[in-house]
């Protein structure tokens, strides 16, 4: 027994890697597990807030992430933009992470095409600008000074999509999708958003509960699970919903590994 326990504890790291890869591949071989995720109140709150906005309201989405967190935040951004277009909101997109610009452009263009939305009238992509804190601060002062031109070089003043919008205060609701800093915290401290929600990678989500509790965020979409919940609310099976199967198998594997290593650890210790 002790020998077995010792053998378990000294398992080669590559064996664990192989187990992980197998657990991640399993759902591709078996097909969808079809287990639903229950929708949490914090995700529902974001959905409800967008639902409550009158048609034609401006809605800002800042996509502050890069390809390193694409599987978590890309589906989240798609779901939110989709929801906004369904509600006929005027979508204002931007991003603060330079290498995320391509993804932000793709999300807005793809979903807009899907809903037949017109650039400049129904949505705008302001693009990336350096100096995140200054950009956020600037939006609170005058959007047209911070972004005199959009991502495509068009003048922003006079754009129908921005009609009646001069500062962040003129935007009834915004969502920041963040993978770190600059992100939700920067928006909370320096932004003058009227009402704001956050979406973020699972790594930073636990820290964001403090802002949720203080009411500075009306809702929070955390990681792929949050994105899958949002997709469920929209009744659209996107990539996050598909990804939850891999989450299931790998999480159960890791939980099993924790139990196994603890049993083995105590088995070797007790004998000594």
């Amino acid at each position: 027994m002790r020998k077995l326990a010792e053998k378990i504890l000294s398992m080669d790291r590559r064996a664990i890697y192989l187990l992980m890869a197998s657990a991640a591949l399993l759902p591709f071989l078996t097909g969808p597990l079809g287990l639903p995720s229950r929708v949490s109140p914090e995700v529902k709150a974001v959905y409800d807030r967008i639902e409550s906005l009158p048609e034609g309201s401006p809605f800002l989405i800042s996509m502050d992430f890069d390809p390193a967190s694409k599987p978590e935040l890309y589906p989240m951004a798609e779901a939110l933009v989709r929801h906004a277009f369904r509600k006929n909101l005027r979508v204002i997109g931007m991003n603060l992470w330079v290498t995320g610009s391509g993804m932000a452009e793709k999300i807005l263009s793809d979903v807009a095409e899907e809903y037949g939305k017109k650039y400049g009238r129904d949505y705008v992509y302001l693009g990336w600008a350096p100096g995140a804190t200054n950009v956020i601060l600037g939006l609170g002062q005058d959007i047209y000074k911070t972004y005199p031109r959009d991502y495509y070089g068009n003048e922003t003043s006079g754009m129908p999509v921005l009609e009646g919008v001069r500062t962040l205060k003129d935007i009834p609701f915004m969502v920041d999708l963040a993978a770190g800093d600059p992100g939700i915290e920067t928006w909370v401290v320096y932004g003058k958003a009227k009402s704001m929600a956050g979406g973020c990678t699972a790594v930073i989500a636990p820290g964001m509960y403090a802002f949720l509790n203080s009411g500075q965020l009306v809702g929070l979409i955390g990681g792929m699970r949050g994105a899958a919940e949002y997709e469920a609310l929209l009744k659209e099976m996107g990539k996050a919903t598909v990804g939850m199967d891999i989450q299931s198998t790998t999480h159960v594997l890791i939980l099993g590994l924790i139990l196994l290593s603890n049993f083995a650890f105590f088995a070797t210790r007790r004998r000594r």
Partner: protein, 239 residues
């Protein structure tokens, strides 16, 4: 070969090159890692030029004559004196401007949007008052735990007083709260990392289909063959 098909082969190859690190550090991984740095720098420069330098600096300053932009231009050039050691001290002026502004704007906003709001939502009534008088329910218990938790964690981080006497158990409670929070963070981190793995696996599985010429499988086979050949030749050398 269509751009899409070529893209699939390139993406699958680069993904596998990086994953090969799990076996051991090797030239495939090193190539991929350095290419990643290069492309991300190249992409950042491209965006800096096309999304910033041209539309927000060059055009307004030199085409539209917005002379006020001369101030940040001078500050920016001062920063660039770092490239010339003899004059690099001049960059301090620009950095002082930037850092001083940052410090100035941070203080009031951190106090009002951060400290005050967080303290305010911690200091909430710990009992409920309803029609049947004062009661203490599960929600109140949670509020009590939050207030106690925040206080104890702050006590733990407060090193100006020695952690002994009545401070000791409070600081110890702080450690316990921190442990629960680290555990929760760990659980969430697992989800984040697995999400990234899903993203890559999804693409690899997609690229292993017939439509993409079995890109993943072919490239994986080639990579394994190279590693095998390498291991065999090493064994022969050793033997």
């Amino acid at each position: 070969m269509s751009p899409e098909l070529l893209g699939a082969w390139v993406a699958a190859g680069l993904t596998l090159a990086i994953f090969s690190f799990l076996y051991k550090d090797n030239p495939f991984f090193k190539f991929g890692e350095h290419l990643y740095i290069g492309i991300s720098v190249g992409y950042s420069i491209t965006l800096l030029v096309f999304n910033f330098m041209i539309p927000k600096w060059w055009t307004p300053l030199f085409r539209e004559g917005r002379m006020s932009l001369l101030v940040p231009t001078v500050l920016g050039l001062l920063i660039w004196t770092r490239f010339f050691p003899r004059f690099s001290w001049l960059s301090r002026w620009a950095f002082a401007f930037v850092v001083g502004f940052g410090a100035g704007i941070a203080i009031p906003r951190t106090i009002s949007n951060f400290i005050f709001r967080q303290v305010e939502s911690t200091a909430v009534p710990l009992v409920s008052r309803g029609q049947q008088g004062v009661s203490f329910g599960w929600g109140d218990f949670s509020n009590f735990l939050i207030a106690f938790g925040v206080l104890s964690v702050l006590t733990y981080f407060f090193f100006s007083v020695e952690h002994k006497g009545p401070i000791r158990p409070l600081a110890r409670a702080g450690v316990l709260f921190l442990m629960v929070s680290f555990g929760a963070s760990f659980g969430y981190t697992v989800m984040a990392r697995v999400s990234l793995l899903f993203g890559r696996m999804y693409d690899l599985v997609e690229y292993s289909s017939r439509g993409y010429g079995y890109a993943t499988l072919v490239l994986l086979g080639l990579m394994v063959a190279v590693f095998l050949a390498q291991a065999l030749s090493k064994k022969r050398e050793g033997g």
